[in-house]
């Protein structure tokens, strides 16, 4: 269960939002909406603990995330604007390295399977710098295929994806919700997620 209470965000001299709160139970998805510059990404960065809120508190399983930083991060999977893949490494190495650093167990077969699912079969051993933008995004998203951690925080996950990939990702997210996971995401394109309880939050 993820709870936010009375959050306030100030960037520079501007107050983006104040008094913001929500409560998300297992199996629920929170869609963050708002125009450009409303503070969607800032809110996500607060939720993952990288940006301390000006006021208010965020709780994970009933306990403030500041007091359980390592445990909270062990339950958290964050996918930002940036793909967080290394250009010099191959898609396969990228997946395995990311999993190892996050303390997850991911076998080579599982990683190859994940890459096949995102349509990168045959390119596992090609350095990522030779891939197109969309393909790099797919490498980043391949993490989600075998992701077991309960809380997903996704910043604009559908950007740069073709129609088939958008459907595929919607399926992956609904599978996660069906397993009792939670997800928070921002998006400008409303994509229908077939399963799970969907809530919306508008900022600004």
């Amino acid at each position: 269960m993820l709870e936010a209470e009375n959050l306030e965000c100030v960037r520079g001299e501007r107050r983006l939002f104040a008094g913001l709160g929500f409560r998300l139970e297992a199996g629920e998805l929170l869609y963050l909406q708002g125009k450009n510059g409303a503070g969607k990404t800032s809110l996500l960065r607060m939720l993952i603990g990288l940006l301390p809120p000006e006021a208010g508190e965020i709780r994970w399983q009933g306990k403030a995330i500041r007091q359980q930083a390592d445990e909270f991060r062990a339950d958290l999977c964050y996918l930002g604007h940036l793909n967080a893949i290394k250009e010099e490494l191959t898609p396969l190495e990228n997946l395995l390295t990311t999993a190892r650093l996050a303390d997850e167990t991911l076998s080579e077969d599982e990683a190859i399977d994940a890459l096949e699912q995102v349509g990168l079969a045959g390119r596992e051993d090609l350095a990522c710098k030779y891939l197109s933008q969309g393909q790099k995004r797919r490498v980043a998203l391949a993490r989600l295929v075998k992701e077991k951690r309960p809380l997903w925080i996704l910043d604009e996950p559908f950007v740069a994806l073709d129609v088939a990939a958008v459907d595929w990702l919607a399926g992956i997210i609904s599978g996660h919700l069906q397993r009792g996971g939670l997800a928070v995401m921002t998006t400008h394109q409303l994509v229908s997620i077939p399963a799970g309880n969907i809530r919306e939050l508008r900022i600004g």
Binding site: G49, L50, D70, R73, L82, K86, L101, A102
Partner: protein, 222 residues
């Protein structure tokens, strides 16, 4: 705890191997700067022997500086630094891994090549041995202190110059005792005292610097 450090070292070494040009250029910079001095000063063995420790150490400091700006900048640009910060471990341990990896690709090669360059300065065998040991013991401190500067200047325009201004003054103790170890050996006094102090500085900086660096990185990531 050890696992995350080993994972980060493995990752950074693999990345460094894919970008060998970076390692090689810092090493060649060291070789060329050191080799310019005997050519410029001329064949005067007494003078060269006196200059050697200082020249080798200053060149080592500058060569280490060359690779520092990229210590976190690449990871910051492609978003992997965020993911490292979100790993379920204290960020200080991740930084420790990165500092060790930085030393393995920047400090260690300098120590390996230093005795060969020392021959140009007509150093005795004892002095060459102490020089190698001093560089081996002192360069991890350079990587550790440098990491703090690299994190503080992360994302700044013209950060490279600012980084040198921040970090080079902090390198002075390492320079003094590093060069002093060789000087003392040449003078027949024995460099053990200097080497012990260098080792102490290295352990202190490897213990404290990653946590200061982690605090600076958290500010840069806000």
């Amino acid at each position: 705890m050890l696992k995350i450090i080993v994972s980060v070292i493995g990752r950074d070494l693999k990345l460094a191997m894919r970008r060998q040009a970076d390692i090689v250029s810092a090493l060649f910079f060291f070789i060329i700067v050191v080799s310019l001095f005997p050519l410029g000063v001329g064949p005067e063995p007494d003078l060269l022997r006196k200059l050697a420790p200082g020249v080798l150490w200053v060149a080592a400091l500058l060569a280490t500086m060359l690779s520092l700006p990229r210590l976190f900048a690449d990871d910051h640009r492609d978003g992997t630094l965020e993911q490292l910060a979100l790993a379920p471990h204290p960020l200080g341990l991740v930084v420790t891994g990165k500092v060790i990896a930085h030393w393995l690709v920047s400090g260690l090669p300098l120590a390996v090549i230093a005795p060969i360059l020392g021959i140009q300065f007509d150093l005795s065998n004892d002095a060459l041995l102490v020089l190698t040991l001093a560089i081996l013991l002192g360069t991890p401190a350079l990587s550790g202190i440098g990491a703090i500067g690299a994190a503080l200047t992360l994302g700044l325009r013209g950060g490279g110059v600012l980084l040198s201004l921040l970090v080079l003054p902090l390198y002075i103790p390492v320079l003094i005792f590093g060069a002093g170890a060789v000087d003392a050996t040449v003078a027949g006094l024995g460099g053990e005292g200097h080497l012990s102090l260098l080792a102490a500085m290295t352990f202190a900086s490897l213990g404290f610097a990653p946590w200061a660096t982690a605090a600076a990185l958290k500010i840069a990531l806000e």
